[in-house]
């Protein structure tokens, strides 16, 4: 009997069965009464049915492999139609009551009671402060202990890896495709990317940007006189500001009327002058691009003659303190 009653109650809930309502006592209304709006009801029903159609269309389009636009359009359409039906219901089908209410008042007696409970519970304690300090020490230390294993995430205390680069004296330069770069192939008015042979391309210290300038135009910092054989300059391709690749090279076709040569970073437009050892001429970079000394081997291939002039990549506290390793 109960089971049948439940099933019929469920069916009635979904409006599929008609029943006689049992007699009830008339009571004072909680929710205000409102006028019916049959037209709005019909429109709402229409909207909901259209929404159903759109949702079905979505499933069909999905099954048939239609475009993202078809899928998005039908799903958005179904949701929008449901939204319209609900907003219509809000405005026309449910009564809009503007009722008075009260903001909650503070209850000082309860606040006092709370304070009292805590206070009175400590009636057996004679060394409250000492206990408190000990509890704080225990809790704090435990907290620190639980956090401590986070140090395994990385070399927290050892920043020496920030100085490491894959370049060594004698390491050959290779291009994107892995071919050795010959000094004779490096022309002016163009830029090249180079990588260390036999090492990963991914490290910040790996990629180089190469340009060739007229040796007479070079104004390199002191000590770098033989770093640029034939005017070929190699700099770290990683911007010293925020680590993006220096992927722009500005080189004039006609120097008198056009901007001077410059290596530029696409992220924040730090601009570096290759003739002066990639000194910063504009933009937020705080250091010049580190330069890699080059030499030409017996076969005419370019090799590193040492490590960079300074640490590569964006700066940190020790970026100027030690040479790269």
């Amino acid at each position: 009997m109960r089971l049948r009653g439940w099933m019929i109650a469920l069916l009635a809930l979904f409006g599929m069965a008609r029943r006689r309502r049992p007699q009830r006592q008339p009571r004072e209304r909680i929710v205000a009464a409102g006028q019916p709006d049959p037209r709005a009801e019909l429109i709402a029903i229409g909207l909901l049915l259209l929404a159903a159609a759109a949702a079905v269309a979505f499933v069909v389009f999905y099954a048939l492999g239609f475009s993202t636009q078809a899928l998005g359009g039908t799903l958005a359409g179904a949701l929008a139609l449901i939204a319209a039906a609900l907003i219509l219901a809000a405005k026309r089908l449910v009564v809009s009551e503007q009722l008075p209410g009260e903001y909650p008042e503070p209850e000082p007696e309860q606040q006092e009671a709370l304070a009292q409970i805590v206070e009175e519970s400590g009636s057996r304690l004679t060394r409250k402060r000492l206990l408190g300090l000990a509890a704080g020490a225990a809790g704090g230390s435990l907290g620190a202990a639980l956090v401590a294993p986070a140090a395994s995430l990385g070399p927290l205390f050892d920043t020496s890896s920030l100085y490491t680069t894959p370049w060594r004296r004698g390491r050959r330069l290779i291009d994107e495709a892995g071919r050795p770069m010959l000094a004779a192939d490096i022309e002016t008015d163009v830029f090249y990317s180079a990588f260390p042979e036999g090492a990963s391309k991914d490290a910040l210290g790996a990629p180089l940007v190469l340009v060739r300038l007229d040796p007479a135009a070079l104004r390199l910092p002191a000590g770098r006189e033989d770093w640029a054989p034939g005017g070929i300059l190699a700099f770290s391709k990683i911007c010293t500001h925020a680590g993006c690749a220096i992927a722009l090279y500005r080189t004039p076709t006609f120097a008198p009327t056009q901007p001077a040569p410059a290596l530029v970073c696409p992220c924040h437009y730090s601009t570096f002058d290759p003739a002066r050892g990639a000194a910063v001429t504009f933009g937020p970079a705080g250091r010049p691009l580190p330069q890699l000394p080059l030499m030409v081997d017996g076969a005419g291939a370019l090799r590193a003659a040492g490590n960079y002039s300074g640490a590569v990549g964006p700066g940190w506290s020790g970026v100027r303190s030690e040479p790269p390793a």
Partner: protein, 252 residues
């Protein structure tokens, strides 16, 4: 709130209509009855009237105004004239793609004339159909995207605007790569081989109409136009929906 939205719409419309740094093009100087002149004479006279001021009467260049054109062959004039980069009103301006003022016959005459000044490289013949778009994407990203943006929408380098490549023909792409116009690097066959250039041209052609199956491509620039859609379209619609659903402040 609606007043603010109105202001925003007007501002956006004004921005959209503003000309993008229009550069004044110099008027073309034509010899009288240019249509009747033989090609060689036409070329010489057009050069004298439109180019010599900066490039010298015999193409030897003028120190503070323009480079020499002896030995540039057909490649350079074909590129600069067919894109409208030249003629350039002020030698300190950046040459940019402009409406062509020279007619086809005049362009050919000028190219022949400049070529006659000392010979030089011919117009390249790229074969994008032999190239691979996949290789082109990698090569373009490596050599070009820093300035031209990875989908060739153009951009900025300090001191110059970098043009989008949406109107570049295969020949113009090849010419630009080999010439390095204005401040662009000049990639010879040793830096970018002819087969690599074919792939780059194939990729640029693809980038002119790439796979936009996600919908409206909003110029393939990424977060900048996406942010504009968020605020101007989504933000407006959502605020409008809230105004529709909720009450408004009525003076009591």
């Amino acid at each position: 709130m609606s007043a603010a939205i109105r202001c925003l719409v007007i501002a956006v419309a004004a921005l959209a209509l503003a000309p993008a740094g229009a550069r004044a093009q110099p008027p073309i100087v034509r010899p009288p009855e240019s249509g009747a002149l033989p090609a060689q004479q036409l070329g010489r006279e057009l050069f004298a009237g439109n180019c010599a001021t900066c490039h010298g009467s015999r193409g030897d260049g003028v120190a503070s105004r323009g480079p020499a054109l002896r030995g540039v062959g057909r490649r350079a004039p074909d590129f600069y004239l067919r894109t409208g980069y030249m003629p350039l009103g002020d030698p300190h301006d950046q040459p940019e793609r402009s409406r062509l003022q020279f007619r086809e016959r005049e362009i050919r005459a000028l190219i022949d004339y400049v070529d006659s000044l000392g010979g030089g490289p011919s117009v390249p013949e790229p074969h994008p159909e032999r190239g691979s778009v996949a290789d082109g994407l990698q090569l373009f990203t490596e050599h070009c995207a820093g300035c031209h943006q990875v989908v060739a929408e153009g951009g900025v380098v300090t001191g110059a605007r970098v043009p989008p490549l949406d109107q570049a023909t295969p020949v113009q792409i090849a010419e630009a790569v080999r010439l390095g116009p204005y401040v662009m690097p000049r990639f010879s066959e040793r830096a970018i081989s002819d087969p690599e250039l074919d792939s780059i041209v194939a990729y640029v052609r693809y980038a002119q109409d790439p796979d936009d199956r996600g919908g409206w491509g909003i110029s393939h620039l990424g977060p900048f136009p996406e942010g504009m859609v968020t605020w101007l379209i989504a933000g407006t619609l959502l605020v409008a929906t809230c105004v529709l659903i909720g009450e408004r402040l009525r003076r009591s």
